[in-house]
Amino acid sequence: MITLPEHSIVISPVGTSDSELFEPISMGIKRIFGYKTEVIPFFKDVSFALDPKRKQYHSTPILEKLEKAAPVRAIKVIGITSVDLFIPILTHVYGEAQIGGAACIISTHRLAEGLFLAADKDTYYKRVAKEVVHELGHTFKLRHCKDNACIMHYCRSIKDVDRKSKQLCRYCKTLLEDEMKRIAVSSELIADSS
């Protein structure tokens, strides 16, 4: 996997989020994308995204704010929040990402479903780490994958999240490698021209 050594993937807690999550998230990111990670909180208040009627938070403006706040060295930024997210056309979303963009976000709000957290933290962390890799995958231009074992598979239920592996299938792996190569080449071109 070709990575840019001076860059990192930034994990940014948005509003409230459990700091214990950062370690498994970071490991998941390093395993799939090969980038080092940094935890940088940019903003705590997400009231600007609250829809009082729905009592949920619109993920798109949060994404836009995250993208603006991220430092230049951040190749991607992932927001982690415990609030319930939505996009206007859908009842809820587990997360949102800009395809090929810089920012994505996940909500842990519905990821503890069916778990007694004190006893089953491991499953919960695995779910969160999978969703983080999934959303970051979109920022590297990966689409949803038909293979239900691939981490890019779109899960219809939390059971499906548990069932899918923490790996990319060979197709998505190739597509990710292509995209990382493309990023490396274009950053070389930018460096050469400056």
Partner: protein, 447 residues
């Protein structure tokens, strides 16, 4: 990912944005329109597989858009988007041909399941059509026909490339005969004794493509009761024709590239490498260079395929072949239908010469078939031809075209001092046709 095109029509920007973002992550190609008017304009230029249409819009409503689609392209699925208060209208829309309706805001799971179901149904319909076409090809296969310069160039190219073993990429509009050209390359090649195996990449549903191409080992998945040979194996020692290669999914592009590079593949569920030896001919009506830019076609696969490339000319650029083709189809269909139609009237030929044939030779073939079936006389007349009428917005007025043709012929004749041999050569038509045009347009030789 095999480019299912979804069109969102909604007057609220936030709805369009959130829905298109969601669908793009699912791998669909998405376009949007903010009004019924804009939607109808876009629908005239682009074909979509599925429309998601908001019922309530200012001006042209969602129901009007649905009506337009039903009248112009009944195969396109339309799902209405509605708020709680408009459910009766949504039900009315379903009576008028909408596939389903979704209540805003909708559950992402329901949306996903609904779209997958529609895409699957459409893929199934395409496959059925493909199987019918395949049957037609088996029963009606014939050699390519054409005396025009562009077709003579194609014949020369086929003759040149056939003996080589290089990969060939044939481009050209739908209905120009790319499949016939591929078959001709195979027939004239040293592999002609081997099989000619067709894979229609646009017709096989994505979930079946892997096992269709690469075969599967018994037990590879639930329905794999027997080991089945794939089309790559079947093409061994022969030619593998990848039709509509521009429609192949990104996943299959990865696998195909590997096979083309190594000539080795694995059956689904298998561990033994299988060696294959075949020549590849691929065809597409897509602009693959544009597809590469849009990141829906792999550049490395394109260069693997684009070793020798040529383009099939559209029928409008070889109009002098129309009478020949029409006569050929007439003979075939009158025999097949056992109807005593044996002539095409001069006026009908003239109509055909003036028409632009967007569907190319296939459209001409269908037009003659229809004319033979519905015609009441022994002769095909203009009224038997299924051309679009002048109330069609895409119709080009007859007189305008005739005027252009007349002026052009006058100019050429003038340039060559009325030397008929030279003028007809320059116009790309034979002398007889030129004489008949001079007569028809009443072109007078200057004193």
């Amino acid at each position: 990912m095999s480019s299912t095109k979804i069109f969102i029509v909604d007057d609220e920007l936030v709805m369009r944005k959130s829905l298109s973002g969601w669908l793009e992550r699912d791998g669909y190609e998405v376009d949007t329109a903010e009004s019924g008017e804009e939607a109808i304009e876009k629908l005239k230029k682009t074909r979509f597989d599925l429309l998601l249409v908001d019922i309530k819009m200012e001006g042209i409503s969602g129901l009007d858009v649905l009506k337009h689609v039903r009248e112009n392209d009944p195969d396109v699925a339309v799902v209405m988007i509605t708020a709680y208060g408009s459910i009766p209208t949504a039900i009315e829309a379903m009576k008028n041909g909408a596939h389903d309706y979704l209540l805003k805001p909708f559950d992402p799971d329901k949306l996903g399941v609904l779209i997958e179901k529609i895409v699957e149904q459409q893929a199934q319909a395409r496959e059925n059509l493909f199987l019918k076409e395949q049957y037609k090809d088996r029963t009606r296969f014939e050699s390519m026909i054409g005396q025009s310069k562009p077709m003579q160039e194609v014949f020369d190219l086929i003759q040149d490339v056939s003996p080589m073993d290089s990969t060939v990429l044939i481009t050209g509009e739908t209905g120009t005969g790319k499949g016939l050209a591929a078959k001709a390359i195979h027939t004239n090649s040293p592999r002609s004794e081997g099989p000619f195996v067709l894979v229609n990449c646009g017709a096989i549903p994505e979930h079946l493509m892997e096992s269709e191409l690469f075969a599967h080992q018994k037990g590879a998945f639930t329905d794999a009761k027997e080991t089945k040979k794939g089309r790559l194996e079947l093409a061994h020692d022969g030619t593998l024709f990848l039709d509509e290669i521009g429609e192949i999914s990104m996943r299959m592009q990865i696998d195909l590239l590997r096979v083309l590079e190594d000539r080795v593949f694995y059956r689904v569920g298998g561990t033994q490498p299988m060696e294959v030896d075949f020549r590849v001919v691929a065809a597409t009506n897509r602009n693959l260079e544009k597809a590469i830019k849009n990141e829906i076609f792999r550049e490395d696969l394109y260069y693997r395929l684009n070793v020798i490339a040529f383009q099939m000319p559209p029928l409008r650029e070889r109009k002098e072949d129309i009478p020949l083709l029409a006569e050929h189809f007439l003979r075939r269909f009158s025999q097949e239908t056992n109807k005593p139609v044996d002539k095409i009237s001069r006026a009908a030929i003239d109509e055909m010469m003036l028409y632009e044939w967007p569907g190319n030779v296939r459209e001409l073939e269908n037009a003659i078939e229809r004319a033979v079936v519905v015609g009441k006389e022994r002769e095909i007349r203009p009224a038997d031809l299924p051309f679009r009428r002048s109330d069609d917005p895409t119709f080009i007025p007859k007189n305008a075209l005739k005027d252009i043709e007349k002026t052009h012929i006058e100019k050429i004749l003038d340039n060559y001092q009325w030397n008929i041999a030279k003028s007809s050569k320059m116009l790309g038509i034979d002398r007889t046709t030129l004489y008949s045009k001079i007569k028809r347009y009443n072109i007078k030789k200057p004193d």
